[in-house]
Amino acid sequence: MATSNSLTLSSATFAKLSPHPFLLANLQPSDPSTPSSRTNGRQPRQARPYSVNNSSLSHAHGSAVVRSGDTTVICGVRGETLLTSQIPNYRAPQADNIAIGDELRDYDLLVPNVELATGCAPNFLPGVPPTTLAQTLSTRLFSLLHSSKFLTAEDLRIYHDGAGTQGEGDTEEEGFGETTREVKAYWVLYIDVLFVSFDGNPFDVAWAAIIAALRDTKLPHAYWDVDRELVLCKRPTEKEPRPLSMRGLPVACTAAVFTARERQKKGSGQYWILVDPDRLEESLCNETVTMVVDNTEGETKVLTISKSGGTVVGPALMREFANVAATRWNEFRSALQ
């Protein structure tokens, strides 16, 4: 008895000692009666359900906590005003000329930041400069915020009516063509993403948290005070803060490719597509695919595809993955409501 006990490993020890064979043994059980599944009990194409909690932070203009499995992200959006007189090389936006540039991008009106060093996982030490992963994540989120054109610059402009009384007609279209109305300031949105706990798939959950927080964001009514030359905000009791208008609902979906061969493979080996990988799976997979889709207009619209680290996923798998991403979109939309 004693010998068999010392030779038998508990599954937790097996996972620690040799994680790759452990995951492989789970996906490819030697006993055919055991169903194939991942170490976390999920099917290869099964994602963890989202849960969303809005308006958790009292001092932010909008916030959300999004949890997917053991990955929990809190995102807060805070608006601050930026006077156009303080922008170097400022050019007033023209209604007819859209091609002149993107105000959101040119004046850096969206400032996302990702914080991983919160003790959310053992491999991120607190009190060190941002890791490569944190920097990569914030760049990807930044470029997705811009390339998806999720927000419009119109929402962030603070107008001043030259002739009329201040603070009127700023959500209405009227007066746009007239020359008296001018942009005096912009709202800059500071979008801070904090990982509360980290168990794989950071990009999807961080993006989901940003979307949920932006949908929750209500900016107070701001106007230009001519006498004091300041931007002032009305009290929420005086005038209801207005939400941002958003274009569609982009949702990210990530999968990792697990290959049976641990070392560099030659020829084709067996592989599994693991949707929504956890931390163990991420550490064992080289190739990842991320797709951001938007199904709001019926047809699946793709906003980002990012695939790197391997040669398994070709065009056929990519088409298949678009359907997986579409189901993930439906899951997130129902979690938001």
């Binding site: 920097q135 470029s143 070392r263 595809i305 990012s306 790197s308 040669t311 065009p315 990519m318």
Partner: protein, 252 residues
């Protein structure tokens, strides 16, 4: 502004690096240097394979988050083609210095973070591969990489190969594809707004561009390059290296 439509490369021109290359194509010029296998820091050491370290330096300013993103993409791609198993507990370091980027004459671009990350990626990858070849590191395959934009042209849409910054800015979607010399897709980055069908079209254009039919094993038979819309990068890598080897062995 003149943009050279033909790729140009210079191999092994840095004396102190194990391998080096300068590559310029469609307005980008990148200098690459490779050192390896060299000693690795203890905390980065991998017991069974070589650590690959990629450093990207921008043309102006110091590297920021955007360079970290490019580095992580290039690192995960190159790790697949370098035979890292051959050099356990060592480091292969690849340094890519951008020297020229095409200017967008329509906007006064800021230095930091103003534009998309992706347009420079093909030039960086191509330089890295040429530097690795110059360093004579064993590879499983080489890479060819291309970028393209889907531009609205009236009602229809057309695919523009190697677009200029202005074309990228006005495009509906922008794609970067990399293929190994075994014609497998190794990297795909796309942004903008597109359908899966459009991505498929872009993919097949890129595949035609990067993986031309290979009947070129016997050197100089493929002379009818006129059918290809852009430069044949696979052929370019081959002929550049052939030229380099011929000049190196000239003394014999």
């Amino acid at each position: 502004m003149t943009v050279n439509s033909e790729p140009e490369a210079l191999l092994s021109h840095l004396q102190n690096a194990d391998g080096s290359a300068t590559f310029s194509f469609s307005g980008y010029t990148v200098v690459g240097a490779v050192n390896g296998p060299i000693e690795v820091q203890r905390r980065d050491e991998l017991p069974e394979e070589a650590a690959v370290d990629v450093i990207v330096r921008p043309a102006a300013g110091v590297g920021g988050t955007r360079e970290r993103h490019l580095e992580s993409l290039i690192q995960s791609t190159l790790r697949q083609i370098i035979l890292v198993d051959n050099f356990p507990r060592t480091l292969i370091q690849i340094i890519l210095q951008v020297t020229t980027t095409p200017e967008n004459e329509y906007v006064n671009a800021k230095v930091a973070q103003a534009t998309s990350n992706l347009p420079i990626l093909p030039a960086l990858l191509q330089t890295a591969v040429l530097s690795l070849l110059s360093a004579a590191l064993p590879l499983t395959a080489t890479l060819t990489s291309t970028s393209l934009a889907v531009v609205a042209d009236g009602q229809s849409k057309k695919v523009v190969l190697n677009p200029s910054p202005r074309e990228i800015e006005t495009s509906q979607s922008f794609h970067v594809f990399s293929f190994t010399s075994h014609d497998e897709l190794i990297l795909a980055e796309s942004e903008g707004s597109f359908t899966v069908k459009e991505w498929d079209e872009a993919f097949s254009v890129a595949q035609r561009q990067c993986c031309p039919p290979t009947n070129t094993d016997d050197g100089d038979t493929l002379m009818d390059d006129g059918s290809l819309p852009g430069a044949n990068l696979k052929q370019f890598i081959r002929s550049t290296l052939e030229g380099k080897i011929a000049s190196d062995l000239h003394w014999k």
